[in-house]
């Protein structure tokens, strides 16, 4: 029943209003989403760096 109601309204308007045809696009072009990223590589490189720093400082302390 929705399209019919829409049709009736459009028809009524077309008789009353000297309309001008125009078109519009719903096809808006949106920008991409940004997702947050996590990485095993980053985590392990940090972990690895951390253990390196730790071993260096502990070696120094030992000296």
């Amino acid at each position: 029943s929705q399209p019919l109601a829409g049709h009736q309204t459009a028809e009524l308007q077309s008789k009353v209003v000297p309309s001008k045809q125009i078109l519009h696009s719903d096809n808006m072009e949106m920008e991409p989403e940004t997702m947050e990223t996590k990485s095993v590589t980053d985590y392990f490189s940090k972990l690895h760096m951390g253990s390196l720093v730790y071993s260096c400082t502990s070696k120094r302390k030992n000296k």
Binding site: S14, S19, H24
Partner: protein, 407 residues
């Protein structure tokens, strides 16, 4: 076992970075199967699985993994990890149409980023929030038969919030000198203004987007900006300018070898030339659109092409071609179960048949023709609902006064 999980996850990361998300997912899932006691590693795997499924458009799976990631991040008290998981969950909920929960998640991303004084995170959360409110507004708007600028209050409020978040984001990313982020924010801000009916502001934002796209040599973004500028100029009533932007869209679509986008550009051009009352050119572009729609087996697009061609031929008084395309439109509408399209096609056909009948019996073709043109161009067609087709152009009526009010 531990090393094996890590190795699998690293291979998954490598594959996803190389653009092969499908293969990446297999490795990440294998890594989960093997398992690890290191909860940070597991969190990173869940997060990447969620993102991979997001890019593969498998949103239910994306939701599942981002949710796992969020739970894990909270368990281990990783605040930054929680912010990231919340943001990703928010984006996924948005795509799934769960806007209220999406807002809660994106707000959490924003709150934590501010707490950690993480400006980059804050800006990204603001952009995501803008996107959620934009989608929310658009979603409600498309459920009704509203045109840009003619919106109920709840839609207007959501879109206004989106615009505010994009503006806030722009302030930060400008301070940070992040041009790529500025480009994204301008593009979506432009589209928000377009929906709000602020077509001049939409043009200003899309012009900025275009400038940044050119700076980066990002031709996809450049094409998007041309297309959005074309849409805005249509509503400003500046059809010549709109046609120029659509032509640039078409040019880039061809260079980028994107047939669906090429078809959309041809369709937009066909409609623009209809507005300019240059029906020969309109027919030329609609025929180009028709050929690609058939090639891509896009039935909805083909139906719209036939409808538009029927209208253009009617305007030229070529009733034989008009009837041919109206019949084809009817056929396709039945085939795809488009009740509204079917009704439209029937009305067009009965109008055309009446004109031809009257022409033959009364020999008063001038009057008959003008009758058809009046009826078929003045909105006797029902509106067609929004569809996910390569071309979503809609015919609508607009008085010149209304155009002025919107400026």
């Amino acid at each position: 076992m531990e090393a094996s999980c890590l190795e699998l996850a690293l291979e998954g990361e490598r594959l996803c970075k190389a653009g092969d998300c499908r293969a990446g997912v297999s490795f990440f899932e294998a890594a989960v199967q093997v398992g690890t006691e290191d909860l940070r590693t597991l969190s990173a795997i869940y997060s990447q699985l969620g993102n991979a499924y997001f890019y593969l458009h498998e949103y239910a799976k994306a939701l599942e993994y981002h949710h796992h990631d969020l739970t894990l991040a909270r368990t281990i008290g990783d605040l930054l990890g929680e912010a990231k998981a919340s943001g990703n969950l928010g984006n996924t909920l948005k795509v799934l149409g769960n806007f209220e929960e999406a807002i809660v998640c994106c707000q959490r991303h924003l709150d934590i980023s501010r707490e950690l004084n993480d400006k980059v995170g804050e800006a990204r959360a603001l952009y995501n929030l803008g996107n959620v409110y934009h989608s929310k507004g658009k979603n409600v708007a498309s459920a009704g038969t509203h045109d840009p600028g003619d919106l109920p209050d709840d839609v207007k409020n959501a879109l206004q919030k989106a615009a505010n978040y994009y503006e806030e984001n722009l302030t930060i990313v400008t301070e940070l000198g992040d041009r790529a982020a500025q480009g994204r924010a301008f593009g979506n801000l432009g589209n928000t203004h377009y929906l709000l009916g602020n077509f001049r502001s939409a043009v200003l934002a899309h012009e900025q987007r275009l400038l940044i796209a050119k700076e980066f040599g990002d031709r996809s973004a450049e094409r998007r900006a041309y297309s959005n500028l074309g849409n805005a100029y249509i509503f400003l009533g500046e059809f010549e300018t709109a046609s120029e932007y659509y032509k640039r869209t078409l040019q880039l679509a061809r260079q980028l070898k994107d047939r669906a986008v090429e078809a959309q550009a041809c369709y937009s051009l066909g409609n623009t030339y209809t507005l300019l009352q240059d029906y020969e050119k309109a027919i030329d572009y609609h025929l180009k659109h028709l050929v690609i729609a058939q090639e891509l087996n896009d039935k909805i697009g083909e139906g719209r092409a036939c409808w538009s061609l029927g209208n253009a031929y009617t305007a030229l008084g070529n009733h034989d071609q008009a009837i041919h395309f109206a019949e084809r439109h009817l056929e396709i509408s039945r085939e795809v179960g488009d009740r509204s399209g079917e009704l439209t096609a029937r009305l067009n056909l009965s109008d055309l048949q009446m004109v031809l009948g009257l022409s033959y019996s009364t020999n008063n073709s001038m009057m008959s023709e003008s009758h058809v043109v009046e009826n078929s161009f003045n909105g006797t067609r029902p509106r067609v609902g929004r569809r996910h087709s390569m071309e979503n152009m809609e015919l609508m009526k607009l008085t010149p006064e209304k155009v002025q009010n919107w400026n």
